[in-house]
């Protein structure tokens, strides 16, 4: 005979684990002039409206692979869209030849690396993967 409180605690735990979204952090090069990004600035950057940092330098946007959990969590948190929806958005703009989606990086380690190496790069990754080699300018959850 199972004890009811124990079962309830177990179930609650499962639900919390499943619904929990990892916190995503947006990072830039330590030398970047930018210290923080508002949510709106972040949206404009990633959705292609803004091509430049506030200081005028061209932005290199970095994306994670479409099947990564972090990418899914990032766009869900940023514009409340699925990865597929964001892909469709970019597909619509592709024919105009004027807009291009962020560059895809294979994993968060490589994102960290690319940001470290490029002053104008901006990327995102799971907060647990971040280290002190980059500057966190925003958090998305």
């Amino acid at each position: 005979m199972l004890r009811l409180p124990k079962i309830l605690t177990l179930l609650l735990g499962i639900v919390l684990v499943c619904s929990a979204r990892a916190e995503i952090v947006v990072v830039v090069n330590l030398d970047s002039s930018v210290d923080s990004f508002s949510r709106r600035e972040l949206v404009d950057l990633y959705m292609g409206r803004t091509q430049h940092f506030p200081d005028g330098s061209l932005v290199l946007r970095l994306d994670l692979p479409p099947d990564s959990q972090a990418r899914s969590d990032f766009y869900r948190g940023l514009v409340n869209k699925s990865v597929a929806e964001v892909n469709a958005y970019w597909a619509k703009l592709l024919f105009t030849g004027r807009a291009s989606p962020p560059q895809v990086i294979s994993n968060s380690v490589n994102v960290l690396k690319a940001v470290r190496e490029n002053k104008n790069a901006i990327g995102y990754l799971d907060s647990k993967d971040v280290d002190k080699s980059v500057k966190v300018v925003s958090r998305v959850d």
Binding site: V43, R49, Y89, K92, L93, F95, T96, G97, R98, A99
Partner: protein
């Protein structure tokens, strides 16, 4: 029968249906035209909104990114719809992309749709402006409305025509035919209405049946009345025949004696021998109007028929005309009492009766009363004498020397003597006096002498004188007879005829015994008979 076409059932009902249909169609058309037009315009607006909704996300993205290519694509796509004249996409950051008839922008008709940022809906990032093709939209709305109205009108028209035709074929035509047929049928004839050709039992067929039943009833009634009229006429003819050809006079007289109605025999009887007589005054037609008037009143008041013989007026006594009259009261339709008079001319019968009476009463030879009639007349006269207290004398006359003449010259001579004596006796007396041939050569006379007692001998002498004149016996011979007369005085010597006769007879025999050709007046037996000698 002619029916004004304007008033025919088909035309009137048709016009009514047509008018109703026209009014209804016009009302419905007016109502629905505006409604459909408005609906079409509203629908076009909705179409515009739907168009915008279709391209909204792309337009939003184009405005978000200031992407001219995408914006151009969007506005071009919009202007490909014929209800959009021109479209413009404007971003908050200043991009403005226009497509279509740019010059035709009319701010008043412009439809503005705000665009919000694709990822931050609370942020407005521009707008989409559309210039709808208002003339096209309205023209289409009109077309749709007109098609609808045309359908409505056609529908109404077809229904109206159908209804009129139906009324005409199913109602007006059979009724018109029925009215025409009925108009041609003579009331009382054997003609009947033909049954409608379609066999169904509708109201018209029922009407035909009922009318035919009425026609049959009318025919029966009229035939019955005609037969009755013929019967009455024949009866009336027969009665008229009887009335006109009756030998008796028939008339209706009111209680004042005015002749209201009479048959030909009445006029014939009344006018016979006096053509100028007034046929309307009943009373004056008779000898005694007052008597007739009383009889009429009697008939009316007693309500009993009066049967009486009446003498007509204006006749000489020798040619007197007698009528037998039956008076009975009748009441006419107004309740007035009238007298029905039935009159027979009995003059001829009365004359014959008088002749028969004469033959029965008179002695064939002398034309004097025979003994039987004489006795009756004498008795009547005696009754009259008793009531009137009028003295008279009865004389028994026996001829003297009659037998020798009869024996010598034969019966013919004797008859001549009797005829001559009878004539002389009658001529010597007055009319009211009675002369009777008592038998053989015996005569009895009753003489009304009056109060004058001297008259009796004078009369007796006169008679003796008359008898004793010579008599022509025929063959150139002449003879002479005398008479013995016995006289009784009435009422002095009695009132009973037999007694008087016996007394006169015995007195006459006394005369004969005392020398003949005398007269003697009876004396009572107590005293000796007195003899008076005559001339």
């Amino acid at each position: 029968m002619s029916i004004d076409v304007r008033h025919s059932l088909t035309v009137r009902s048709g016009l009514t249906i047509l008018a109703g249909s026209v009014v209804l169609t016009v009302a419905l058309s007016t109502f629905f035209y505006q409604r459909i037009f408005d609906e079409q315009v509203t629908q076009a607006d909705r179409q515009l909104q739907q168009l915008v909704a279709t391209v909204e996300s792309s337009a939003a993205v184009a405005a978000y990114l200031d992407n001219a290519e995408l914006a151009t694509d969007v506005v071009r796509g919009l202007t490909k719809n014929d209800i959009v004249v021109s479209a413009a996409l404007q971003s908050a950051t200043g991009m403005r992309i226009v497509s279509g008839d740019v010059g035709g922008f009319d701010e008043a008709q412009l439809h503005q749709f705000p665009l919000s940022a694709p990822f931050t809906p609370e942020e407005s990032i521009g707008s989409l402006s559309l210039q709808p093709n208002r003339p096209l939209i309205e023209q289409r709305a009109r077309e749709v409305a007109v098609v609808y109205i045309a359908t409505l009108v056609a529908h109404s028209l077809v229904l109206t025509i159908l209804t009129i035709l139906l009324v005409h074929w199913r109602l007006a035509r059979p009724l018109t035919a029925l009215a025409r047929d009925l108009h041609e049928i003579e009331p009382g004839s054997a003609s009947r209405l033909p049954l409608p050709t379609h066999r169904r039992r509708d109201e018209v067929a029922q009407l035909v049946d009922d009318i035919n039943a009425l026609l049959a009833a009318t025919q029966g009634t009229l035939e019955g009345e005609r037969r009755l009229r013929q019967y009455v006429e024949s009866v009336e003819r027969r009665f008229r025949l009887i009335f006109d050809h009756a030998s008796c006079g028939i008339s209706l007289v009111d209680k004042n004696g005015l002749v209201l109605f009479s048959n030909p025999s009445f006029n014939r009887i009344m006018s016979q021998g006096r053509p100028a007589a007034d046929m309307t005054n009943f009373l004056q037609l008779f000898d005694d109007p007052a008597q007739v008037n009383l009889l009429l009143l009697h008939a009316v008041t007693e309500d009993l028929p009066v049967s009486v013989d009446l003498l007509l007026s204006g006749e000489l006594s020798g040619n007197a005309r007698w009528l037998h009259a039956l008076f009975s009261s009748v009441r006419n339709e107004d309740g007035d009492l009238l007298v029905e008079c039935i009159l027979y001319d009995i003059s001829e019968r009365a004359r014959r009766e008088r002749e028969v009476q004469h033959e029965a009463e008179r002695d064939a030879l002398t034309q004097l009363y025979n003994r039987r009639a004489g006795e009756r007349h004498l008795r009547q006269a005696l009754v009259q004498v008793a009531t009137d207290q009028q003295p008279c004398a009865l004389m028994m006359i026996d001829l003297d020397r009659f037998k020798p003449i009869n024996d010598t010259y034969g019966h013919e001579a004797g008859d001549r003597v009797l005829i001559a004596v009878s004539q002389r006796l009658s001529q010597s007396l007055r009319k009211q006096d009675v002369v009777v041939r008592w038998g053989g050569d015996e005569f009895v006379v009753l003489v009304f002498t009056g109060k004058n007692a001297e008259a009796v001998p004078l009369v007796a002498d006169k008679l003796l004188q008359a008898v004793s004149q010579p008599i022509d016996l025929g063959g150139g011979r002449s003879g002479q007879v005398g008479a013995s007369i016995g006289i009784v005085l009435i009422p002095e010597h009695g009132l009973q005829l037999d007694d008087l006769i016996a007394k006169a007879d015995s007195t006459m025999y006394e005369v004969k015994e005392h020398g003949r050709h005398h007269f003697s007046i009876y004396r009572e037996p107590a005293s000796p008979a007195a003899l008076n000698s005559g001339a």
